[in-house]
Chain length 237, copies 2
DNA sequence: AGCTATTGTATCATCTGGATACAATAATCG
DNA sequence: CGATTATTGTATCCAGATGATACAATAGCT
């Protein structure tokens, strides 16, 4: 069975995978073998597969992640997204032919994912030789329109931040309010007043207080919390 | 030149076109020749054409509309969107063969458009024999997943309503605050307090008061306004 | 034991939005 | 022709949310 029969031609998907670590918002970026080409993890859609399922599969195959918060944010359909040239350059470097199937123009559906950094166990695939978390403010130049994709994904994330309970996907099960606040601040790109943030978050009645945290630091220990999803999803903020 | 060379295979796009008239939010729906099949206006993407341009073109070709507020809202990639069956049924009714090209599974990018009802001059295409504005609450059963598309488009519209200056695309150049309020109410699906709506809208500093309206009605005449887009797009609501 | 950095909570002022009141006014009706 | 009616424009009161500041509690350090 050839590629054309197995996958839908001229459509791809790419994933902007967000993680949070050391007070920084990070994106998972692949580096192609024997090259300085960086790209987002992406893949194709099988003929007998739902688009959204394909995204889950691609994410799994290329990064080992499963059960991830994953959502479409935009479909990139520029005539000249740059793939062909880039693919060729990469193929030259690697002394391989680009399959004819890949020569054509592609339309790519962009997904963004939110993952718990601490749970990620990266697996490498055949073409990429490194796969790293990179601070959103220190991204290298990415292949094709992938830089635009990250920008657009972040924009969507900011917009949806206060519409859905997204942030908790970026945190471990248990966390402090200070950590939670840091996530908000990093995504929004601005600082928030600690006391008011605390009041607001607690008033939402979505956090379950667990116990005191042993910090080992020379100051009062904060409480630990767990996200407690409310039954009534209707109202928000 | 055959279809396969001209258009990207297995990708389509569909448009949910919103208009406002007689205090109702309406959607433009096509009815196929010799059938009871209703569908959204849609089309395909040329090999040498941007996705978003294709949407503008399709809109133009099928409805005569140009310069329209048009935006992606979701990409529909269910394995079984129902096209094949529906296409066949329609083809049978019309004693025509479905081109092989169309037999395959399609992924469709959904766009929504906001148009000034008063400016629309509908033109019919070859396959549809009627093209009507239908109240969003009185839609017939639509082909494939188009009913879902309308629902998702409306959801997006509601979300973006307070993020961007969308509503004014649905109104003529000049309007009263009462008319503006009616648009908000219809989209949001609930009534708003007149006095507070007026205060809020005027405080945003986006309306230019023109003159008094001669109504011919037995009561105080309202002012007319024009939308005055602010330079600073940053802050909103 | 006192110091320091941080946390948890209270409080005050300000802003925003819901609700009500009321004067202004353009036609119509008696 | 003045009273009536429906609607518009604006003011005001009140409750709840948010911004800003104050301060006591506390875990480890010196």
């Amino acid at each position: 069975m050839n590629l054309e029969d197995q996958y839908i031609p001229q459509i791809s998907l790419d994933c902007v995978i967000f993680g949070f670590h050391a007070s920084q918002l990070k994106v998972l970026v692949l580096r192609f073998k024997n090259s300085d080409f960086f790209a987002l993890p992406g893949g194709f859609i099988r003929q007998d597969e739902d688009l959204n399922e394909a995204a889950q599969r691609v994410l799994m195959e290329r990064t080992g992640l499963t059960d991830v918060y994953l959502e479409q944010f935009y479909t990139f359909g520029q005539r000249e997204r740059g793939e062909v040239r880039m693919q060729r350059e990469w193929a030259e470097v690697n002394k391989r032919d680009v399959p004819q199937w890949l020569e054509k123009r592609f339309i790519s559906v962009g997904f963004y994912a939110l993952v718990d950094f601490s749970k990620v166990n990266l697996t490498m695939d055949a073409i990429s030789d490194s796969c790293d978390w990179i601070d959103i403010n220190e991204l290298p130049v990415l292949m094709m329109d992938h830089t635009l994709m990250v920008a657009k994904a972040l924009e969507t994330l900011r917009l949806e931040l206060n519409q859905k309970w997204l942030v908790f996907n970026l945190l471990p099960e248990i966390f402090t309010i200070a950590e939670l606040q840091k996530v908000y601040e990093t995504i929004l790109g601005r600082t928030l007043l600690r006391t008011n943030f605390q009041r607001k978050i607690l008033s939402l009645d979505i956090l379950k207080r667990i116990e005191k945290k042993y910090t080992g630091k020379a100051h009062k220990a904060p409480y630990l919390y767990r996200f407690n999803k409310p039954e009534n999803e209707d109202k928000f903020y």
